[in-house]
Subunit: 234 residues, 2 copies
């Protein structure tokens, strides 16, 4: 009998948006694994730091900032082996993920390496999608709206088509794509229907007019919500 593997969503940033289930698991497993940049703290770990008993073994999954390949296969390969070793030793392991593990999360790459021969329980978390809408006071979608989640790195042509087809949209991973995104929205006449937010529910949360975001100023954790009806609930 090996240990059990959990993929645990820890929510968008506010530690109080952790679920009771995530809290129970994070406090009880002997091994915790978390994603982090090559140097510096893990955002996912920071979210839950106050709840940890301080007795767990921790596996850092550190991703080089400038990776020649994407995803960084060797990093995930190594982490998967470390996690398997812990499971084989009978230890339960929780891999923590910002937001939700299956919503654009890097947990996918571990899942792909481990799901074939390990049973994995995924604990859903509050995603940035609904957290951004809540923080903006702006409903995402109602009734029979089609809501599309559109990654910012897509090229302007594709982004424009997907926006044209949806009733509502969330443009995620805005970052350095802010200028392109503004241009696409303007060309569709949707500038007044778009709202910008960064680091929703974190201490550093910032809401500004889309027009006022500097071209190099949007972080990776930023989102533009668009609704074609000015008021989504009408």
């Amino acid at each position: 009998m090996g240990g059990k593997l959990y993929g645990v969503g820890v929510g968008p940033g506010d530690p109080e948006l952790l679920t009771l289930k995530a809290l129970r698991i994070l406090r009880s497993v002997p091994v915790l694994a978390w994603p982090a940049p090559e140097k510096g703290p893990s955002l996912a770990r920071d979210i839950i730091a106050e709840y940890l008993p301080g007795t767990q073994r921790e596996i850092a999954i550190r991703m080089p900032l400038l990776s020649a390949h994407f995803p960084a296969d060797d990093v995930y390969d190594k982490a998967a082996i470390e996690i398997k070793d812990a499971l084989d030793a009978g230890e339960d392991v929780a891999v923590i993920c910002e937001g939700d593990p299956f919503f654009y999360g890097s947990f996918m790459y571990l899942f792909g390496r481990l799901a074939n021969d390990r049973s994995i329980e995924v604990v859903p978390g509050v995603s940035s999608l609904t957290a951004c809408a809540a923080a903006l006071g702006s409903p995402l979608s109602a009734r029979n709206d089609v809501l599309s989640v559109i990654p910012g790195p897509l090229d302007a042509g594709i982004m424009s088509m997907r926006l044209a087809e949806a009733d509502a949209a969330a443009i995620i991973k805005v970052g350095r794509h802010i200028s392109k995104i503004r241009g696409v929205l303007a060309s569709l006449g949707l500038s007044d229907n778009a709202r910008y937010i960064e680091r929703a529910t974190m201490a550093e949360q910032r809401i500004v007019n889309l027009a006022d975001v500097g071209d190099g100023d949007a972080p990776y954790f930023s989102m533009v919500l668009v609704h074609k009806r000015a008021e989504a609930w009408k």
Copy 2:
């Protein structure tokens, strides 16, 4: 100084998927409001029943099953007045919502009636979208996937177009539309890429092959997840 109004997402069904923030608010407010059918229990209230102190005043928002108009304006008008009265009396009020308040929730109709002259704090919850993916062990979207949420009541032509355009999709509110949905997926060659689940994370959760769902058997709380790559994480 009036009371404070909260819209609180209570998650998809498992009481343990409540957030710590929702728990704190639900235990502390003097007035709780919840949606329910014309007769019988409220699903949202059932989810949190075990956590309630038992001392709160409760406002039932009961929706006639066969309403001549949609949304049932008079029901929401009346509930909005009751809630305003409580706020004017200085009482904090929490309106609870299955899943997340701003993701296809009926909370929108109260929000539309109250947001103009009351400050409302929305507490995001785990949505059915990520809960279904977790329960199915099936990642929703990764990298630069466009993920579309498509309501089941849409007609087959629109549904087909939206599915054709997205990399991944969640068809929600399946219910009596199951047969149409199966037909659309088959016509797009996507039958083998679709997975069906109902009542995710509830005690009655059921996962069956899409082909095996009887034409009248899918409840409102059911979803079909589609991903064009057989394995979303690759």
